[in-house]
């Protein structure tokens, strides 16, 4: 049994010098489980945790091809928020933000939630109207939202370009004070440790190579560490959703694209909020170490390389400088890329599949990290009750067949335009 973290435990080890236990076991796979979750990222680990914690299903295995948290849970820009406008999204992401707010206590692991507030900027009067409408939708759903005028933004973010001839004049913005950032690696580690404490087997270096099936029923998986049977199986593998689903004979409305993220050299405290540009897709915050963390659009063609193209580096840097001219001489410290499962409408799929006992969670586009707790919560419910949780009924895999595309940003049904 892994002991709880507490001030007392810290003090005891400080005095005695006793080593800390490893945070989760490294078990060999058993021949059979009630539920197998494929993918040891944030979503898969959260699903396993809530299966055990909320539904008492503890004979659960999480199968991870590489090591825990090696995918997109450690590659995002760590932003959490719930300022979504379309009915369904609004409530789902608010549920997620509420779970974030209690997560460190729930997991007995500090995920370092920092509710520093997120500001989306408006660069024209019509854009400010759109933000006002979004803010009203949020407030009607009991979510905090404040409309900012130009003077408010100038007071809070004095370093933006407020000059009379600026290319993107600032008319105002929408502030969600409860939004912020989370230490993303800690999310994977915290869920893994908490799930392990409840008896979940987390099996790393175990790649799924096929599905075991009887007719249209999935009965387990073949892996590089042998065959494992399972009552129910969930796929939660982000960028490789198409590959794993293809092992079960499913073809998905998913195309894998590459998204880059960037961090500058560390500077003194400068940017107190999470900030979103209104003229382009660009978002930036400052990490606890002082680096400016930011990102933009996907590269624009499907690829699995996890290696970004240089022109996007330039575009994103141009956004940064257009928004905050004073950072033009900062150097980039690192940049990296993750494989994003893009869907035609920019919304994910959570729920059942055409195959019995097989569940899918994928197609997260840009939104996966902030959704981690709610996805785990709702997918665990869906698996435990064999019916979709009310918060994810709009995210079914067959929604395009029913002409129910769920297009938050109104960009049309194109994977690479979301």
């Amino acid at each position: 049994m892994i002991s709880r973290y507490s001030a007392l435990a810290l003090l005891r080890r400080a005095v005695t010098g006793a080593p800390w236990q490893r945070a989760w076991r490294a078990p060999d796979p058993e021949p059979s489980y009630d539920v197998i979750v494929i993918g040891g990222g944030g979503h898969g680990l959260a699903t396993a945790y809530y299966l055990a914690a909320n539904h008492g299903i503890r004979k659960v295995a999480v199968l991870e091809r590489g090591y825990l948290g090696s995918g997109n849970v450690g590659r995002n820009t760590t932003i959490v928020r719930s300022n979504y406008q379309i009915d369904g999204n609004t409530q789902f992401f608010e549920h997620s933000l509420k779970l974030w707010e209690g997560l460190s206590h729930e997991l007995n692991y500090n995920v370092m939630l920092s509710q520093r507030g997120q500001i989306v900027l408006a660069h024209g009067p019509s854009q400010l109207d759109v933000l006002a409408r979004k803010g009203n939708v949020m407030r009607l759903n009991g979510i905090d939202a404040e409309l900012l005028e130009r003077a408010d933004v100038a007071r809070m973010l004095p370093f933006l370009d407020f000059s009379p001839d600026s290319r993107f004049p600032i008319f105002g913005g929408l502030l969600q004070r409860r939004a912020g950032t989370v230490r993303h690696d800690a999310v994977a580690w915290g869920y893994a440790r908490a799930a392990d404490r409840l008896g979940v087997d987390i099996i790393e270096q175990c790649e799924v190579t096929g599905f075991l099936r009887k007719g249209d029923r999935i009965t387990g998986v073949a892996t590089t560490r042998g065959r494992i049977s399972a009552g129910r199986t969930a796929i939660s593998v982000a960028g490789h959703s198409s590959q794993v689903a293809a092992l079960a004979g499913l073809k998905l409305p998913v195309e894998s694209h590459l998204l880059q993220a960037f961090v500058s050299e560390p500077i003194k405290p400068f940017l107190d909020h999470v900030l979103s540009f209104g003229a382009e897709l660009f978002y930036i915050s400052q990490s606890d170490k002082g680096g400016l963390v930011f990102g933009g659009h996907i590269d624009g063609f499907n690829t699995y390389t996890q290696r970004g193209q240089f022109p996007k580096v330039r575009t994103v840097a141009e956004c940064a400088v257009a928004l905050m001219p004073s950072i033009s001489r900062l150097r980039l410290l690192r940049h990296w890329a993750g494989i994003q499962d893009m869907t035609p409408d920019g919304s994910p799929f959570i729920g059942r599949t055409p195959l019995r006992n097989l569940y899918l969670n994928g197609g997260w586009c840009y939104q996966g990290f902030k959704a981690t707790p709610a996805t785990g919560w709702c997918l665990a419910h869906t698996i435990a009750h064999e019916t979709e949780h009310p918060l994810i009924r709009h995210l079914s895999l067959d929604r395009f067949e029913r002409n129910n595309g769920f297009d938050e940003y109104g960009t049309g049904l194109w994977t690479y335009k979301q």
């Binding site: 198409s242 894998s256 499907n302 290696r307 022109p311």
Partner: protein, 124 residues
């Protein structure tokens, strides 16, 4: 941020005579280079991406919604060999078909989309 262009790894492009070899496909690097049948090898930023070139559109007037759904919304999304459309919008404006490996971004042959069936590679 102008200093980024001097970061290690960005100094050598496929224009560099020491790395360029006309007989070999371009190696994966920080700029995808696309061989245009008219204009030669160019940066991918001159092109517009047009998606999977192997999809077969259902016949016009076909009322079979399932096959239209599958055509519009489902993707093979392979990790490996991919045949795809690009339009050289800042060059000859022709649509072309490009062979690219999505696991490495290594590019292979290309040909004009109007000259060859998109589903068959040209011979020879």
């Amino acid at each position: 941020m102008a200093s980024m262009s001097t970061a290690p790894g960005y100094g050598r492009t496929s224009n560099d005579p020491t790395t360029r070899d006309a007989g070999k496909p371009a190696s994966p690097q920080a700029m995808l280079r696309i061989p245009c049948p008219h204009c030669g090898e160019r940066d991918y930023t001159e092109f517009r991406y047009g998606g999977d070139a192997t999809k077969v559109r259902p016949a016009h007037g076909s009322g079979d919604l399932k096959s239209w759904h599958d055509h519009v919304f489902l993707f093979d999304n392979p990790k490996g060999a991919h045949r795809e459309f690009w339009q050289h919008v800042q060059g000859c404006r022709q649509w072309l078909v490009l062979e690219r490996d999505t696991a490495t971004d290594r590019v292979g042959r290309s040909w004009l989309a109007r000259e060859q069936s998109t589903r068959e590679a040209p011979r020879g």
